[in-house]
Symmetry: C2
Subunit: 199 residues, 2 copies
DNA sequence: CTTGTAAACTAACACTTGTTAGTTTGGAGG
DNA sequence: CCTCCAAACTAACAAGTGTTAGTTTACAAG
Protein backbone atom coordinates (compact mmCIF):
# COMPACT_ATOMS: atom_id res chain seq x y z
CA UNK A 1 0.00 0.00 0.00
CA UNK A 2 1.46 3.35 -1.03
CA UNK A 3 1.53 6.40 1.21
CA UNK A 4 -1.53 8.03 -0.32
CA UNK A 5 -3.60 4.91 0.23
CA UNK A 6 -2.27 4.59 3.75
CA UNK A 7 -3.33 8.17 4.50
CA UNK A 8 -6.80 7.46 3.15
CA UNK A 9 -7.01 4.32 5.23
CA UNK A 10 -5.95 5.99 8.47
CA UNK A 11 -8.18 9.00 7.82
CA UNK A 12 -11.19 6.82 7.12
CA UNK A 13 -10.65 5.03 10.39
CA UNK A 14 -10.18 8.20 12.46
CA UNK A 15 -12.91 10.28 10.82
CA UNK A 16 -15.41 7.48 11.29
CA UNK A 17 -15.00 7.57 15.06
CA UNK A 18 -14.14 11.14 15.97
CA UNK A 19 -15.52 13.08 13.01
CA UNK A 20 -13.69 15.14 10.42
CA UNK A 21 -13.14 18.25 12.52
CA UNK A 22 -11.81 16.45 15.58
CA UNK A 23 -9.00 14.70 13.76
CA UNK A 24 -5.89 16.80 13.11
CA UNK A 25 -3.54 16.39 10.19
CA UNK A 26 -0.82 15.74 12.77
CA UNK A 27 -2.83 12.78 14.12
CA UNK A 28 -3.07 11.34 10.63
CA UNK A 29 0.58 11.94 9.79
CA UNK A 30 1.76 10.40 13.05
CA UNK A 31 -0.33 7.28 12.47
CA UNK A 32 0.97 6.96 8.91
CA UNK A 33 4.53 7.56 10.11
CA UNK A 34 5.38 10.80 8.33
CA UNK A 35 5.49 14.49 9.19
CA UNK A 36 2.33 16.50 8.72
CA UNK A 37 3.89 18.65 6.02
CA UNK A 38 4.49 15.53 3.92
CA UNK A 39 0.76 14.99 3.70
CA UNK A 40 0.61 18.00 1.45
CA UNK A 41 2.65 16.17 -1.18
CA UNK A 42 -0.34 13.86 -1.61
CA UNK A 43 -3.32 16.07 -0.92
CA UNK A 44 -4.13 19.70 -1.57
CA UNK A 45 -5.37 20.19 1.98
CA UNK A 46 -7.28 18.44 4.75
CA UNK A 47 -10.61 18.77 2.97
CA UNK A 48 -9.10 17.06 -0.06
CA UNK A 49 -8.45 13.95 2.05
CA UNK A 50 -12.08 13.88 3.10
CA UNK A 51 -13.36 14.42 -0.44
CA UNK A 52 -11.16 11.62 -1.75
CA UNK A 53 -12.52 9.26 0.89
CA UNK A 54 -16.10 10.03 -0.09
CA UNK A 55 -15.29 9.68 -3.77
CA UNK A 56 -13.60 6.30 -3.36
CA UNK A 57 -16.28 4.93 -1.07
CA UNK A 58 -19.04 6.00 -3.42
CA UNK A 59 -17.19 4.26 -6.25
CA UNK A 60 -17.09 1.09 -4.13
CA UNK A 61 -20.81 1.37 -3.43
CA UNK A 62 -21.63 1.74 -7.11
CA UNK A 63 -19.46 -1.23 -7.95
CA UNK A 64 -21.29 -3.28 -5.34
CA UNK A 65 -24.67 -2.42 -6.81
CA UNK A 66 -23.44 -3.41 -10.24
CA UNK A 67 -22.28 -6.74 -8.86
CA UNK A 68 -25.74 -7.21 -7.41
CA UNK A 69 -27.14 -6.53 -10.91
CA UNK A 70 -28.54 -3.15 -10.00
CA UNK A 71 -27.48 -0.05 -11.82
CA UNK A 72 -26.46 3.18 -10.08
CA UNK A 73 -29.87 4.76 -10.16
CA UNK A 74 -31.17 1.87 -8.08
CA UNK A 75 -33.51 0.90 -10.88
CA UNK A 76 -33.26 -2.86 -10.68
CA UNK A 77 -33.06 -5.50 -13.32
CA UNK A 78 -35.43 -7.77 -11.48
CA UNK A 79 -35.19 -10.74 -13.80
CA UNK A 80 -32.38 -11.81 -11.46
CA UNK A 81 -34.95 -12.49 -8.80
CA UNK A 82 -37.00 -14.90 -10.87
CA UNK A 83 -38.08 -17.82 -8.75
CA UNK A 84 -38.11 -15.75 -5.56
CA UNK A 85 -38.16 -17.66 -2.32
CA UNK A 86 -37.32 -17.16 1.34
CA UNK A 87 -33.72 -18.09 0.60
CA UNK A 88 -33.42 -15.55 -2.18
CA UNK A 89 -34.80 -12.70 -0.06
CA UNK A 90 -32.56 -13.81 2.78
CA UNK A 91 -29.56 -13.65 0.49
CA UNK A 92 -30.47 -10.15 -0.64
CA UNK A 93 -30.58 -9.09 2.99
CA UNK A 94 -27.35 -10.93 3.84
CA UNK A 95 -25.55 -9.32 0.91
CA UNK A 96 -26.73 -5.89 1.92
CA UNK A 97 -25.67 -6.54 5.47
CA UNK A 98 -22.31 -8.05 4.79
CA UNK A 99 -21.43 -5.18 2.51
CA UNK A 100 -22.43 -2.36 4.84
CA UNK A 101 -21.66 -3.91 8.22
CA UNK A 102 -18.93 -6.50 7.70
CA UNK A 103 -16.80 -4.70 5.13
CA UNK A 104 -14.63 -2.52 7.30
CA UNK A 105 -14.38 0.39 4.84
CA UNK A 106 -18.11 0.51 4.25
CA UNK A 107 -18.84 0.34 7.94
CA UNK A 108 -16.59 3.34 8.46
CA UNK A 109 -18.04 5.16 5.48
CA UNK A 110 -21.54 4.67 6.91
CA UNK A 111 -20.37 6.07 10.24
CA UNK A 112 -18.92 9.13 8.56
CA UNK A 113 -22.22 9.75 6.82
CA UNK A 114 -24.00 9.42 10.16
CA UNK A 115 -21.64 11.74 12.03
CA UNK A 116 -21.31 14.42 9.38
CA UNK A 117 -24.86 14.49 8.04
CA UNK A 118 -26.05 17.44 10.12
CA UNK A 119 -23.27 19.88 9.27
CA UNK A 120 -22.65 18.89 5.67
CA UNK A 121 -25.42 19.10 3.11
CA UNK A 122 -23.62 16.98 0.50
CA UNK A 123 -23.11 14.19 3.00
CA UNK A 124 -26.71 14.43 4.11
CA UNK A 125 -27.85 13.96 0.55
CA UNK A 126 -25.63 10.93 0.01
CA UNK A 127 -26.83 9.38 3.24
CA UNK A 128 -30.48 9.91 2.42
CA UNK A 129 -30.16 8.68 -1.13
CA UNK A 130 -28.31 5.56 -0.03
CA UNK A 131 -30.36 4.52 2.96
CA UNK A 132 -33.70 6.27 2.81
CA UNK A 133 -35.31 7.47 -0.40
CA UNK A 134 -33.24 5.41 -2.81
CA UNK A 135 -33.53 2.23 -0.80
CA UNK A 136 -37.29 2.49 -0.38
CA UNK A 137 -37.74 3.41 -4.03
CA UNK A 138 -35.80 0.35 -5.11
CA UNK A 139 -37.60 -2.01 -2.77
CA UNK A 140 -40.94 -0.63 -3.90
CA UNK A 141 -40.08 -1.43 -7.51
CA UNK A 142 -38.92 -4.88 -6.46
CA UNK A 143 -42.13 -5.78 -4.67
CA UNK A 144 -44.27 -4.32 -7.43
CA UNK A 145 -42.53 -6.73 -9.75
CA UNK A 146 -42.88 -9.65 -7.34
CA UNK A 147 -46.57 -8.87 -7.04
CA UNK A 148 -47.08 -8.71 -10.81
CA UNK A 149 -45.35 -12.06 -11.28
CA UNK A 150 -47.43 -13.63 -8.53
CA UNK A 151 -44.55 -14.46 -6.23
CA UNK A 152 -46.01 -12.48 -3.35
CA UNK A 153 -49.40 -11.15 -2.33
CA UNK A 154 -48.87 -7.43 -2.94
CA UNK A 155 -51.60 -4.85 -2.47
CA UNK A 156 -49.44 -1.81 -1.78
CA UNK A 157 -45.81 -2.30 -2.87
CA UNK A 158 -44.53 0.66 -0.83
CA UNK A 159 -45.92 -0.86 2.37
CA UNK A 160 -44.12 -4.10 1.59
CA UNK A 161 -40.94 -2.13 0.96
CA UNK A 162 -41.27 -0.64 4.43
CA UNK A 163 -42.14 -3.98 6.00
CA UNK A 164 -39.15 -5.65 4.37
CA UNK A 165 -36.51 -2.95 4.50
CA UNK A 166 -37.01 -1.04 7.76
CA UNK A 167 -36.14 -3.98 10.04
CA UNK A 168 -32.95 -4.45 8.02
CA UNK A 169 -32.21 -0.73 8.38
CA UNK A 170 -32.81 -1.04 12.11
CA UNK A 171 -30.55 -4.05 12.52
CA UNK A 172 -27.83 -2.31 10.53
CA UNK A 173 -27.83 0.52 13.06
CA UNK A 174 -28.20 -1.76 16.03
CA UNK A 175 -25.27 -4.02 15.40
CA UNK A 176 -21.74 -3.00 14.67
CA UNK A 177 -20.63 -6.42 13.60
CA UNK A 178 -22.25 -9.07 11.50
CA UNK A 179 -22.52 -11.73 14.18
CA UNK A 180 -24.74 -14.70 15.00
CA UNK A 181 -27.29 -12.53 16.75
CA UNK A 182 -27.79 -10.50 13.57
CA UNK A 183 -28.04 -13.61 11.42
CA UNK A 184 -30.70 -14.94 13.75
CA UNK A 185 -32.69 -11.72 13.73
CA UNK A 186 -32.42 -11.37 9.96
CA UNK A 187 -33.56 -14.93 9.38
CA UNK A 188 -36.44 -14.54 11.80
CA UNK A 189 -37.50 -11.30 10.15
CA UNK A 190 -37.50 -12.69 6.65
CA UNK A 191 -39.23 -15.91 7.60
CA UNK A 192 -41.95 -13.89 9.27
CA UNK A 193 -42.16 -11.58 6.27
CA UNK A 194 -42.61 -14.45 3.82
CA UNK A 195 -45.23 -16.06 6.03
CA UNK A 196 -47.16 -12.81 6.07
CA UNK A 197 -47.06 -12.06 2.38
CA UNK A 198 -46.89 -15.37 0.53
CA UNK A 199 -49.72 -15.78 -1.95
CA UNK B 1 -34.30 32.42 31.17
CA UNK B 2 -31.18 32.82 33.35
CA UNK B 3 -27.65 32.71 32.00
CA UNK B 4 -27.02 29.08 32.90
CA UNK B 5 -30.14 27.95 31.06
CA UNK B 6 -29.24 30.12 28.11
CA UNK B 7 -25.79 28.49 27.93
CA UNK B 8 -27.39 25.06 28.01
CA UNK B 9 -29.80 26.07 25.29
CA UNK B 10 -27.13 27.46 22.98
CA UNK B 11 -24.82 24.52 23.63
CA UNK B 12 -27.56 22.01 22.90
CA UNK B 13 -28.22 23.70 19.59
CA UNK B 14 -24.56 23.92 18.56
CA UNK B 15 -23.49 20.49 19.76
CA UNK B 16 -26.39 18.87 17.95
CA UNK B 17 -25.16 20.13 14.59
CA UNK B 18 -21.38 20.35 14.84
CA UNK B 19 -20.62 17.89 17.65
CA UNK B 20 -19.15 18.54 21.07
CA UNK B 21 -15.51 18.85 20.00
CA UNK B 22 -16.10 21.23 17.12
CA UNK B 23 -17.87 23.86 19.21
CA UNK B 24 -15.59 26.16 21.20
CA UNK B 25 -16.44 27.78 24.50
CA UNK B 26 -15.91 31.09 22.74
CA UNK B 27 -18.63 30.20 20.22
CA UNK B 28 -21.01 29.47 23.06
CA UNK B 29 -20.12 32.58 25.04
CA UNK B 30 -20.46 34.82 22.00
CA UNK B 31 -23.91 33.42 21.20
CA UNK B 32 -25.01 33.88 24.82
CA UNK B 33 -23.56 37.38 24.87
CA UNK B 34 -20.85 37.04 27.54
CA UNK B 35 -17.10 36.51 27.59
CA UNK B 36 -15.83 32.94 27.58
CA UNK B 37 -14.32 33.25 31.04
CA UNK B 38 -17.76 34.06 32.45
CA UNK B 39 -18.94 30.59 31.45
CA UNK B 40 -16.75 29.23 34.20
CA UNK B 41 -18.91 30.94 36.80
CA UNK B 42 -21.68 28.56 35.81
CA UNK B 43 -19.87 25.41 34.80
CA UNK B 44 -16.75 23.67 36.01
CA UNK B 45 -15.47 23.22 32.47
CA UNK B 46 -16.64 22.48 28.94
CA UNK B 47 -17.35 18.84 29.71
CA UNK B 48 -19.61 19.93 32.56
CA UNK B 49 -21.84 21.76 30.07
CA UNK B 50 -22.17 18.59 28.02
CA UNK B 51 -22.88 16.43 31.05
CA UNK B 52 -25.55 18.82 32.27
CA UNK B 53 -27.25 18.71 28.86
CA UNK B 54 -27.35 14.92 28.90
CA UNK B 55 -28.62 14.89 32.48
CA UNK B 56 -31.43 17.36 31.79
CA UNK B 57 -32.49 15.69 28.57
CA UNK B 58 -32.58 12.28 30.19
CA UNK B 59 -34.77 13.74 32.93
CA UNK B 60 -37.12 15.09 30.27
CA UNK B 61 -37.25 11.68 28.59
CA UNK B 62 -38.09 9.94 31.87
CA UNK B 63 -40.80 12.46 32.58
CA UNK B 64 -42.26 11.84 29.14
CA UNK B 65 -42.42 8.10 29.71
CA UNK B 66 -44.16 8.68 33.01
CA UNK B 67 -46.71 10.88 31.29
CA UNK B 68 -47.29 8.06 28.82
CA UNK B 69 -47.91 5.76 31.81
CA UNK B 70 -44.69 3.86 31.37
CA UNK B 71 -42.11 3.74 34.11
CA UNK B 72 -38.40 4.37 33.55
CA UNK B 73 -37.44 0.74 33.01
CA UNK B 74 -39.79 0.66 30.04
CA UNK B 75 -41.87 -2.00 31.74
CA UNK B 76 -45.30 -0.83 30.72
CA UNK B 77 -48.56 -0.67 32.57
CA UNK B 78 -50.51 -1.93 29.62
CA UNK B 79 -53.94 -1.59 31.14
CA UNK B 80 -53.85 1.86 29.56
CA UNK B 81 -54.09 0.23 26.17
CA UNK B 82 -57.29 -1.64 26.91
CA UNK B 83 -59.60 -1.50 23.93
CA UNK B 84 -56.73 -1.21 21.46
CA UNK B 85 -57.62 -0.04 18.02
CA UNK B 86 -55.96 1.52 15.00
CA UNK B 87 -56.49 4.95 16.51
CA UNK B 88 -54.85 3.98 19.77
CA UNK B 89 -51.76 2.53 18.06
CA UNK B 90 -51.64 5.58 15.83
CA UNK B 91 -51.69 7.83 18.85
CA UNK B 92 -48.84 5.90 20.47
CA UNK B 93 -46.80 6.40 17.32
CA UNK B 94 -47.79 10.08 17.04
CA UNK B 95 -46.85 10.69 20.66
CA UNK B 96 -43.47 9.04 20.19
CA UNK B 97 -42.91 11.02 17.05
CA UNK B 98 -44.02 14.37 18.32
CA UNK B 99 -41.81 14.00 21.37
CA UNK B 100 -38.63 12.98 19.58
CA UNK B 101 -39.00 14.86 16.30
CA UNK B 102 -41.17 17.90 16.96
CA UNK B 103 -39.89 18.89 20.40
CA UNK B 104 -36.85 20.96 19.54
CA UNK B 105 -34.77 19.96 22.57
CA UNK B 106 -35.41 16.25 22.06
CA UNK B 107 -34.63 16.47 18.38
CA UNK B 108 -31.30 18.05 19.27
CA UNK B 109 -30.67 15.54 22.02
CA UNK B 110 -31.25 12.71 19.58
CA UNK B 111 -28.79 14.27 17.16
CA UNK B 112 -26.16 14.55 19.86
CA UNK B 113 -26.59 10.86 20.65
CA UNK B 114 -26.22 10.05 16.96
CA UNK B 115 -23.12 12.20 16.46
CA UNK B 116 -21.30 11.26 19.66
CA UNK B 117 -22.17 7.57 19.87
CA UNK B 118 -18.97 6.28 18.29
CA UNK B 119 -16.49 8.14 20.45
CA UNK B 120 -18.37 8.08 23.74
CA UNK B 121 -19.33 4.83 25.37
CA UNK B 122 -21.79 6.39 27.80
CA UNK B 123 -23.64 8.10 24.97
CA UNK B 124 -23.66 4.90 22.97
CA UNK B 125 -25.31 3.08 25.83
CA UNK B 126 -27.97 5.75 26.27
CA UNK B 127 -28.69 5.74 22.54
CA UNK B 128 -29.00 1.98 22.36
CA UNK B 129 -31.13 1.72 25.46
CA UNK B 130 -33.48 4.44 24.26
CA UNK B 131 -33.93 3.47 20.64
CA UNK B 132 -32.84 -0.14 20.22
CA UNK B 133 -32.88 -2.68 23.03
CA UNK B 134 -35.20 -0.83 25.39
CA UNK B 135 -37.67 0.10 22.69
CA UNK B 136 -37.90 -3.43 21.25
CA UNK B 137 -38.16 -4.90 24.73
CA UNK B 138 -41.06 -2.62 25.56
CA UNK B 139 -42.90 -3.22 22.30
CA UNK B 140 -42.44 -6.97 22.71
CA UNK B 141 -44.12 -6.81 26.11
CA UNK B 142 -46.88 -4.68 24.67
CA UNK B 143 -47.71 -7.09 21.86
CA UNK B 144 -47.48 -10.09 24.14
CA UNK B 145 -50.16 -8.44 26.22
CA UNK B 146 -52.27 -7.53 23.20
CA UNK B 147 -52.02 -11.12 22.04
CA UNK B 148 -53.05 -12.53 25.42
CA UNK B 149 -56.07 -10.26 25.55
CA UNK B 150 -57.08 -11.21 22.02
CA UNK B 151 -56.73 -7.75 20.55
CA UNK B 152 -54.27 -8.92 17.92
CA UNK B 153 -53.24 -12.16 16.31
CA UNK B 154 -49.83 -12.67 17.91
CA UNK B 155 -47.69 -15.73 17.29
CA UNK B 156 -44.28 -14.21 18.00
CA UNK B 157 -44.49 -10.94 19.95
CA UNK B 158 -40.90 -9.93 19.13
CA UNK B 159 -41.63 -10.11 15.41
CA UNK B 160 -44.62 -7.85 15.88
CA UNK B 161 -42.46 -5.47 17.86
CA UNK B 162 -40.09 -5.28 14.89
CA UNK B 163 -42.94 -4.97 12.40
CA UNK B 164 -44.50 -2.14 14.38
CA UNK B 165 -41.49 -0.25 15.68
CA UNK B 166 -38.83 -0.38 12.96
CA UNK B 167 -40.81 1.65 10.39
CA UNK B 168 -41.34 4.28 13.09
CA UNK B 169 -37.61 4.21 13.84
CA UNK B 170 -36.92 4.59 10.13
CA UNK B 171 -39.28 7.53 9.71
CA UNK B 172 -37.79 9.21 12.76
CA UNK B 173 -34.38 9.17 11.07
CA UNK B 174 -35.73 10.03 7.67
CA UNK B 175 -37.57 13.16 8.58
CA UNK B 176 -36.29 16.09 10.51
CA UNK B 177 -39.64 17.67 11.01
CA UNK B 178 -42.99 16.27 11.87
CA UNK B 179 -44.78 17.26 8.67
CA UNK B 180 -47.68 16.05 6.56
CA UNK B 181 -45.52 13.52 4.71
CA UNK B 182 -44.63 11.84 8.00
CA UNK B 183 -48.23 11.84 9.17
CA UNK B 184 -49.23 10.17 5.94
CA UNK B 185 -46.50 7.54 6.14
CA UNK B 186 -47.23 6.84 9.79
CA UNK B 187 -50.94 6.43 9.16
CA UNK B 188 -50.32 4.18 6.19
CA UNK B 189 -47.90 2.07 8.17
CA UNK B 190 -50.23 1.57 11.08
CA UNK B 191 -53.26 0.89 8.94
CA UNK B 192 -51.29 -1.76 7.08
CA UNK B 193 -50.02 -3.18 10.35
CA UNK B 194 -53.51 -3.52 11.81
CA UNK B 195 -54.82 -5.12 8.61
CA UNK B 196 -52.02 -7.68 8.78
CA UNK B 197 -52.38 -8.65 12.41
CA UNK B 198 -56.00 -8.14 13.40
CA UNK B 199 -57.57 -11.33 14.75
C1' DC C 1 27.99 9.28 -13.11
C1' DT C 2 24.75 12.87 -13.68
C1' DT C 3 20.29 14.60 -13.57
C1' DG C 4 15.49 15.01 -12.36
C1' DT C 5 11.89 14.35 -9.43
C1' DA C 6 8.73 12.56 -6.04
C1' DA C 7 8.43 12.52 -1.40
C1' DA C 8 10.32 12.89 2.75
C1' DC C 9 12.16 16.42 6.05
C1' DT C 10 12.85 21.00 9.39
C1' DA C 11 11.11 25.20 10.80
C1' DA C 12 8.05 28.52 11.17
C1' DC C 13 3.63 31.31 10.59
C1' DA C 14 -0.74 33.03 12.28
C1' DC C 15 -4.62 31.57 14.52
C1' DT C 16 -7.73 28.99 17.74
C1' DT C 17 -8.29 26.18 21.73
C1' DG C 18 -9.60 25.40 26.99
C1' DT C 19 -8.60 27.34 31.14
C1' DT C 20 -6.97 30.41 35.06
C1' DA C 21 -5.89 34.66 37.87
C1' DG C 22 -7.18 38.80 39.21
C1' DT C 23 -10.40 42.78 38.82
C1' DT C 24 -14.72 45.35 38.30
C1' DT C 25 -19.65 45.79 38.52
C1' DG C 26 -24.30 45.95 40.18
C1' DG C 27 -27.84 44.86 42.95
C1' DA C 28 -29.89 42.68 47.48
C1' DG C 29 -29.98 42.66 52.66
C1' DG C 30 -28.61 44.55 56.92
C1' DC D 1 -24.86 53.90 53.37
C1' DC D 2 -22.22 49.90 53.72
C1' DT D 3 -21.22 45.13 52.93
C1' DC D 4 -21.36 41.06 50.41
C1' DC D 5 -21.27 38.23 46.57
C1' DA D 6 -22.64 36.37 42.28
C1' DA D 7 -21.45 37.18 37.87
C1' DA D 8 -19.61 39.88 34.66
C1' DC D 9 -15.05 41.55 32.94
C1' DT D 10 -9.68 41.94 31.07
C1' DA D 11 -5.58 39.66 30.18
C1' DA D 12 -2.80 36.07 29.66
C1' DC D 13 -1.05 31.13 29.40
C1' DA D 14 0.37 26.90 27.09
C1' DA D 15 -0.95 23.81 23.83
C1' DG D 16 -2.76 22.55 19.48
C1' DT D 17 -4.56 23.89 14.72
C1' DG D 18 -3.95 24.01 9.24
C1' DT D 19 -0.74 25.43 6.13
C1' DT D 20 3.57 27.10 3.67
C1' DA D 21 8.54 27.79 2.37
C1' DG D 22 12.63 25.94 1.75
C1' DT D 23 15.78 21.87 2.15
C1' DT D 24 17.34 17.09 1.99
C1' DT D 25 16.98 12.37 0.49
C1' DA D 26 16.54 8.33 -2.40
C1' DC D 27 16.05 6.31 -6.46
C1' DA D 28 14.97 5.70 -11.55
C1' DA D 29 16.17 7.23 -16.36
C1' DG D 30 19.42 9.10 -19.44
Amino acid sequence: MNTKDKIIDVALERFSTYGYASVSVRDLAKEVGIKESSLYNHFKNKQDIFDTIIERCMAKVMKHYQTMHLDQTLQGDFTVYRGISEDVLLNIAYDHFRFYVEDVDMKRFRRILIIEQFKNETIQQIYHTQFFDGAIQFQTQLFKHLGDTGHLRVEDPERLAYAFYTPIFFLMHRYDRYNDEVKLQLSAHIHHFIEQYKP
